[in-house]
């Protein structure tokens, strides 16, 4: 699959689920991870729920690779900053002028868990669901079609755009633009990139609008869909169950304080 989307086509049960079910699950796990207290909650959800789901969907290897690749700068940052600059607390050890604190480490651990959960949650969803299938389901449930169009188009356009930005950046580099160095140098690298990119794309807006109008985008007819989205009574019940459980988790959170 081209790098245009994270979606990884697999013949798995997870992939065959209705996209709204999967999306509800994603949101449910998110609420669970953020609402339930404790520094281990996020990690528990990751190991007990997300990993088995990923195995079911035959995407565990991809999931792990992507999540670790994108989360390490954050985790590194959070550990360094929170442990070293925590302020008052229990000192773990001392070296030179630094005295990392236990409370800071715990905070960093919790924060990392949260971010890992959020990332794994959404990436698992993206790996197992083609975005337009979700939009089609939501449209059938009443979502404003313009919104569905915006979301899917954005997902396809962003990587295109980034490629364009990269091309401009490389072209400028070839002309001698410096992108490494002190802050001023890096800042100056921005402007010759931003202007052509933005203005060029704005000029495309009118043609693109004409192109979809030419495909009867604003037709008053009732839309049909080429793709058929599977659903089942069981899934409907599970979705309602998740909403209830999510509300429960929020209640627990409020009561815990």
């Amino acid at each position: 699959m081209d790098s245009l989307s994270i979606y990884a086509a697999r013949a798995s049960g997870l992939h065959k689920l209705n996209p709204v079910t999967k999306f509800s699950l994603t949101l449910f796990l998110l609420v669970l991870g953020l609402a339930l207290p404790g520094m281990w909650t996020s990690y528990l959800i990751l190991v007990l729920i997300i990993v088995p789901l990923a195995i079911w969907g035959k995407v565990l290897d991809r999931l792990t690779r992507i999540v670790l690749t994108i989360s390490w700068p954050f985790i590194l940052s959070v550990f360094i900053i929170q442990t070293l600059f925590w302020g008052k607390g229990t000192t773990l050890f001392e070296f030179g002028p630094f005295a990392p604190k236990l409370e800071g480490a715990i905070f960093a651990f919790t924060s990392s868990g949260r971010i890992l959960l959020i990332m794994a949650d959404f990436i698992l969803f993206s790996l197992a669901t083609r975005p337009d299938t979700l939009m089609i389901s939501l449209k059938q449930a009443g979502l404003y079609p313009g919104m569905a169009y915006i979301i899917v188009t954005t997902l396809q356009l962003v990587p295109q755009f980034a490629a364009k930005a990269n091309a401009i950046l490389n072209a400028q580099r070839a002309r001698g633009l410096e992108t490494q160095g002190n802050i001023l140098v890096r800042a100056r690298a921005l402007l010759p990139l931003v202007m052509p990119l933005v203005i060029g794309s704005l000029m495309e807006v009118e043609e693109r609008a004409i192109a979809i109008e030419a495909r009867a985008f604003n037709s008053k007819h009732k839309e049909t869909s080429l793709i058929e989205i599977p659903d089942s009574q069981v899934q409907r019940i599970v979705r309602i169950g998740m909403i209830v459980a999510a509300l429960l988790a929020i209640v627990i959170r409020i009561l815990w304080r």
Binding site: D2, L4, Q156, E223, I227
Partner: protein, 291 residues
């Protein structure tokens, strides 16, 4: 009298916030199955003419439109744009901008228009399959539209319009952004469609190609029709060079040759074949060793 399928009478149009009209007093009747090519320098109003036939002028661009623009007997200002596009298909230069972005495969991309007008699923599938066969892109069905070459994308765009079964096809410089291979592919499709009886209005710069395939040529200049008639007549007229049109290099060479007495035929050539044929006729005058 056969009623023209495209009928423009005294059409004048001004874009909003502009002082001078983009089109003035355009009169054009196109019969069913005809292939009309439109030529002209930049700013002549060629794109505006396309938009007028396709209904985007005035519905999309607003502005002031006077006169009659009718396709198959229905006037454009009496229709809404989303109904009008079902009768008139429009494709233009930039293939990338014609991809909706809302679909992940070529097959679905082509079906996009049919989904919007509510065609039942089975009919959609057969219409898309047939249209893809017509434009020879059946092998691209599962590809992402963004992974295609320019020529392929343009053919997908054409197919996406064709699948809606318009009565008339309007093409605004469909090969201007193509490489030679892409150009050949796209021209191939357009020619096939025309031979099957589709009414086509096409803006194009590649004069040699027009000469071979167009039934009629329209030369636009500053929003008015300068010349209209058979390709052979229009494309070799002096008026074109006077007004700054690009003309075929064969024409300019032959014109020079005519001045030097080396071109014996009456009319001037537009295409390579015509030039070869015309120059061959003058070979009787050459010395035997040069034959």
């Amino acid at each position: 009298m056969i009623m023209a399928i495209i009928n423009l009478q005294n059409v004048t149009y001004k874009y909003p916030l502009t002082d001078s009209p983009a089109l003035t007093n355009i009169n054009l009747q196109v019969n069913e199955g005809e292939f009309v090519a439109v030529i002209g320098p930049n700013g002549a109003g060629k794109s505006t003419l396309c938009y007028a036939i396709a209904g985007f002028v005035p519905h999309f661009f607003k502005g002031e439109l006077t006169g009659i623009v009718a396709v198959a007997g229905v006037e454009s200002h009496q229709s809404s744009l989303h109904e009008w596009v079902l009768n008139v298909g429009l494709a233009f230069q930039n293939p990338f901008n014609q991809i909706s972005g809302a679909k992940y495969t070529v097959f679905e991309e082509i079906a996009f228009g049919l989904e919007n007008i509510g065609v039942p699923r089975d009919e959609m599938k057969s219409r898309v399959t047939d249209a893809m066969k017509l434009t020879s892109i059946s092998d691209l069905a599962d590809r992402s539209p963004y992974s295609l070459s320019g020529g392929q994308q343009q053919r997908v765009a054409l197919t996406s319009i064709l699948v809606m079964q318009p009565k008339v096809l309007v093409l605004d410089e469909p090969t201007s952004q193509m490489d030679p291979i892409g150009t050949r592919e796209v021209f191939g499709v357009i020619r096939k469609l025309s031979e099957k009886g589709m009414t086509v209005v096409m803006v194009e710069h590649k004069v040699e190609w027009i000469a071979n395939f167009a039934d009629r040529v329209l030369a636009l200049h500053e929003g008015k029709i300068l010349l209209a008639g058979k390709p052979g007549d229009v494309l070799t007229s002096h008026l074109l060079t006077d007004k700054g049109f690009g003309i075929s290099r064969y024409t300019s060479v032959a014109r020079k040759a005519k001045e030097m007495g080396l071109w014996k035929k009456d009319g001037l050539p537009v295409t390579l074949d015509e030039a070869v044929e015309g120059f061959s006729q003058g070979r009787e005058n050459l010395a035997p060793t040069q034959k």
